[in-house]
């Protein structure tokens, strides 16, 4: 049997990691925890390096950081939130960098694990965005106005409200954070498993000397998907950030 050599590991094998420190305590640090720490540290390092360079004509790290800061400022903050969104730029920039670096570890050799493929990263982030936009809404419009605007659509006949209010509550306060977390998690998990699948097939073809003739096929797929996952990493970070900006911006304005 040609494919007898292919041995897919159980899914928990590639997602649940041993803790490497503080074993047994709630602070058990494993690969995913380490990646999140590195993502935060790397982001700070990039910014400190860029800020320290401070050249009039940017190059290298400074250029890289500035182009992303500029991109977030123009394409997310200004386009979605407008001028009043400017104070939110550091928050959104941090969000984008953190998610992107957590994602990109999916294709970094020897690490090859997107921290966002574990619910432990997208869920708290989505929860934080959820809390943020509710707090912003309450602070901008007051408790009564905010919730009234958020769950009662204007210009709708009373009878329909019975149907629409539960839907609005569901869509604005339950589906939003859930979708935010699941979208990121699902995409990164799927990408991770895809890469894993083709890596396992390629390995089986090569190491176990089965089907060397068709090895180029799964390997080409693996290469192509690695490139695609780099794109997905950036795209998902962008989507998460722009949706967060949109939710916060909506909460700031009483338009509804």
């Amino acid at each position: 049997m040609l494919f007898a050599g292919i041995n897919f590991p159980p899914i928990s094998d590639v997602l649940n990691w041993r803790s490497i420190a503080f074993n047994g305590s709630p602070f058990a640090l494993n690969k995913v925890g380490l990646i999140t720490l590195v993502a935060a540290a790397l982001t700070l390092l990039l910014f400190f390096a860029a800020g320290k360079q401070g050249k009039l004509v940017p190059s290298g790290v400074q250029n890289f950081v500035e182009s992303i800061v500029d991109f977030i400022h123009n394409s997310i903050v200004m386009d979605v939130m407008g001028q009043e969104g400017v104070p939110w730029a550091p928050y959104l920039t941090g969000l984008f960098f953190f998610i992107f670096i957590c994602n990109i570890f999916e294709v970094i050799p020897f690490i090859q694990m997107p921290a966002t493929a574990r619910m432990s990263v997208p869920a708290p982030l989505a929860l934080m965005v959820w809390v943020t936009f509710i707090v912003v809404g309450i602070r901008a419009q007051g408790v009564r106005h905010y919730f009234k605007n958020a769950i009662i659509p204007q210009g709708v006949p009373g009878a329909l409200l019975i149907l629409l209010v539960p839907l609005e509550i569901l869509s604005n306060f339950i589906v939003r954070p859930f979708a935010l977390a699941v979208r990121l998690f699902g995409n990164m998990l799927a990408g991770h498993l895809l890469l894993l699948t083709f890596a396992v097939i390629s390995e089986a073809m090569f190491v176990k000397s089965v089907g060397l003739a068709i090895l180029p096929l799964p390997f080409a797929m693996l290469t192509a998907l690695t490139g695609y996952e780099i794109f997905v990493s950036a795209l998902q970070a962008f989507i998460f950030t722009i949706l967060s900006a949109l939710y916060i911006s909506e909460a700031m304005k009483s338009a509804h």
Partner: protein, 178 residues
């Protein structure tokens, strides 16, 4: 492989969706720390630098525009000055030409006048000389005629001698005339 699975099982649930508690703690901690440090120390310098650069570029552009306008204005001034200078030069040339023409005419007129004066003086001198000569001739001819008459009367007797006398008279006149 077994150890990995065992470790995973020990670390928490083996459900691929539900995360381990430690992961949540570290991810929240990392992100909170990132936001705090980024917002306080890391982001503002980068943003300030970018804003400063934008301001500098804007300032430079404004300055360049100002300099360009200034240069344009100076150029216009120079062009105007050049045109004025050309006009002045033409004017001066015209004036000089007119002056020269007037001078030439003056000199010519003066020369003609002088020539006329000289000519008139010469004519006058000639006329006086001619009158003087005529007067002289008249008196000479008179005295000669008288002399001739005397000599004729004296030589009445000797015709041959008279002839000699007339000849000498005529040669005398010729010598006087010469």
């Amino acid at each position: 492989m077994t150890t990995v699975i065992l470790a995973a099982a020990a670390a928490g649930s083996s459900n691929p969706i539900l995360p381990a508690a430690g992961e949540i703690v570290w991810s929240v901690l990392s992100f909170a720390l990132l936001l705090l440090l980024l917002g306080k120390w890391a982001y503002p310098p980068v943003k300030k630098m970018m804003a400063d650069r934008a301001a500098k570029i804007r300032g430079d552009l404004d300055a360049a525009e100002l300099a360009r306008t200034e240069a344009q204005r100076t150029l216009e001034e120079y062009k105007e000055q050049l045109a004025q200078a050309k006009r002045d030069a033409t004017h001066i040339l015209d004036e000089a030409r007119q002056t020269a023409e007037a001078l030439r005419a003056d000199i010519l007129a003066k020369a003609e006048e002088d020539a006329a004066v000289v000519r008139a003086r010469n004519e006058e001198a000639l006329r006086i000389e001619r009158q003087r000569v005529i007067a002289e001739l008249r008196s000479e001819v008179g005295s000669l005629a008288l002399e001739l008459a005397e000599k004729i009367i004296d030589a009445e007797v000797d015709r041959a001698a008279s002839q000699t006398l007339i000849d000498s008279f005529i040669s005398e006149i010729g010598a006087t005339r010469a």
